[in-house]
């Protein structure tokens, strides 16, 4: 079996374990059999646990695929929607909307997040325009600074208006209290994002080449940038609208996958999607299962787990994770 095959098998196994743990584990552990026996347990599993696990799976997949796409098209291994301030823009829009009295239903939240993400994307792109085109380094530096600025603004608004508790999920990330409305939103987003990237994976793969070689092979840039924008907007806005601003996944998961099984965009799309989904589901289990009665901040947990993984990669190269 090839290294790639072993990796896919391992990740699929971990994904299934993560789904099982997240569904049946947590502050209260359920027996898998209680799904089929009517009662309170069944109601909790179907009404709360199922939508929560589904949301974690899809948000993880969306963030990881969005990150992989942005890294590929910007020729930058540390690009990620959250580093460019796109997630922060969506968060700010949601907080402003919430504070000014918009009822944050699923539809409203999705729309606000999309507007915020779009505005942030346009501003960061304008910051990065230098001379004839978009300078990748300016994009990254401008995005990082802008992201920090927007996040501070979000916290400031929330603290001043005494709404940090109301926006807890949004600010520190989390899946508590999600229902099937959010599941449907994420399902639509996942179909758009995974569909577009899968159908155009051959073209996106070529975007990793230098610009001239890319043109010489007969590919066309404007259409692909348009598609990239749609995919990244939808992925970032929908995940922020449901689970708040969660960093690391978009940056770290594609990196981790590429370190273990180096490959092109189309080769690593599937493994990255599975790893992102598994990572987020496992993180959600940790959030609700580690300290009884408390939900740990998901964004912080994601950053800690991811930080350790990335630190390992940097410090030990690929030696520790040879499959």
């Amino acid at each position: 079996m090839t290294r790639r095959g072993r990796f896919n098998l391992l990740v699929t196994g971990l994904l299934l374990v993560a789904i099982g743990l997240d569904l049946f584990g947590g502050a209260h552990w359920f027996s898998p059999l209680s799904v089929i026996s009517p009662g309170t347990s069944q109601a909790v599993l179907l009404g709360m646990r199922f939508p929560r696990t589904l949301c974690a799976l899809m948000v993880g997949a969306l963030l990881a695929v969005g990150g992989l796409l942005l890294q590929t098209v910007s020729h930058n291994p540390i690009a990620d929607p959250s580093i460019l301030g796109i997630n922060a823009g969506a968060t700010l829009a949601l907080v402003i909307g919430g504070v000014s009295g918009v009822a944050l239903t699923v539809g409203h939240a999705a729309l606000l997040a999309l507007i915020g993400a779009g505005l942030a994307y346009v501003i960061v792109l304008l910051l990065a325009v230098a001379g004839t085109g978009v300078d990748p380094l300016r994009l990254l530096l401008g995005g990082t600074v802008f992201s920090g600025f927007i996040s501070c603004l979000t916290y400031a608004i929330s603290v001043v208006t005494n709404t940090t508790q109301a926006f807890r999920n949004l600010l520190i990330g989390g899946f508590s209290g999600v229902d099937y409305g959010q599941v449907s939103l994420l399902a639509v987003a996942t179909v758009i994002v995974v569909g577009l990237t899968w159908l155009n994976r051959a073209s996106f793969t070529l975007m990793a080449l230098d610009h001239e070689t890319f043109k010489g092979l007969g590919a066309s840039l404007p259409v692909l940038w348009g598609l990239t924008t749609i995919v990244i907007m939808v992925a970032a806005a929908s995940s922020v609208a449901v689970a708040g601003n969660i960093g690391f996944v978009g940056l770290g998961v594609p990196q981790l996958v590429n370190a273990i099984i180096p490959g092109s965009f189309k080769q690593n799309l599937g493994p990255t999607l599975l790893t992102g989904a598994g990572f987020m589901t496992l993180a959600d289990f940790c959030v609700k299962g580690f300290v009884a009665g408390t939900e740990l901040p998901l964004a912080a947990l994601s950053a800690i787990i991811g930080g350790i993984a990335l630190f390992g990669l940097v410090a030990f190269g690929q030696k520790v994770i040879r499959l």
Binding site: T72, P77, L199, R201, A202, S203, T205, L206, A208, L209, D210, E212, T213, K215, G216, L217, G218, A219, S220, N258, P262, G263, S264, F265, Q267
Partner: protein, 266 residues
């Protein structure tokens, strides 16, 4: 011989800077045409207009008697394959993966690699003698092997025309000669029309059938190496004096004892 490409009253440049002004040129099918000229003479600009990367400021480029601008991206790539000066491969891809990118211009719809594509890729890799390295990462190849991998990628495009911008510049001498020999093989065995920018005039004279010399945005001379490489051209275009000898075997001119004109004047 028939004309495969023509440049008519072409002006080209960047923004408001005109580099090439009202130049006309034809490229014969099935020959190796070498673009020579000093730095900044407009060789790369001419190449980038002829391969469709840049739109001309005025005039037009004809490919098989049809304006190049009427070809869409994929159609153009199926006719002209380009190797740029600094091709960059993404991290973590194998030679076979890189070469398969050449099939993009023939893909339809979802872009699955069909059996015919796989055959083209395998053939291209074996033509550049990299079969043993097909599963090696491009980043682990030597400079010469890397260049051959990119040539294989352009070969997989299966286009009648290949354009290469200074393919030998970053290679050591054996790899330079190997690359040029490969181009000759592609021309003779695969009947490719090749347009190549070269700096070494002796290599250009040895490996090209036609030379086009550019000076300050003008086509200064066109013809066989013997007709183009004259004392007068060396003086006007390159400010160099040299002894020109015909090689006994190849009957191609070779320069020896090259001196900058300033030194001769002293």
């Amino acid at each position: 011989m028939s004309t495969i490409m023509a440049v008519q009253h072409l002006s080209a440049g960047y923004g408001r800077t005109t580099i090439i002004n009202d130049q006309t040129l034809t490229i014969e099918a099935g020959v190796i045409t070498g673009l020579i000229g000093p730095n900044g003479s407009g060789k790369s600009t001419l190449l980038n207009v002829m391969n469709g990367f840049r739109a001309p400021l005025a005039g037009r480029v004809l490919l098989k008697d049809r304006p190049l601008s009427t070809f869409n991206h994929k159609q153009r790539a199926a006719e002209i394959a380009c190797l740029t000066q600094h091709p960059v491969a993404p991290e973590g891809i194998t030679v076979a993966e890189l070469v398969s990118y050449g099939r993009y211009c023939h893909s339809k719809g979802l872009g699955w690699l069909r059996r015919r594509d796989q055959i083209s890729v395998t053939e291209a890799i074996s033509t550049v003698h990299l079969t043993a390295f097909k599963d090696t990462l491009v980043s682990e190849l030597s400079g010469g092997q890397r260049q051959r991998a990119f040539i294989a990628m352009t070969l997989a495009q299966n286009s009648p025309i290949m354009m290469l911008d200074e393919p030998t510049t970053y290679l050591d001498l054996p790899n330079q000669l190997e690359t040029l020999a490969l181009l000759r093989q592609l021309n003779q065995v695969h009947k490719k029309t090749i347009i190549v920018v070269l700096h070494d005039l002796n290599q250009a004279a040895t490996y090209c059938d036609q030379l086009v010399c550019m000076t300050q945005g003008r086509v200064n001379a066109v013809g066989t190496p013997k007709a183009v490489l004259t004392h007068e051209l060396l003086a006007t275009a390159f400010h160099v004096s040299a002894d020109i000898e015909l090689n006994a075997n190849t009957q191609r001119p070779q320069l020896t004892n090259c001196q900058p004109m300033a030194a001769v004047a002293q």
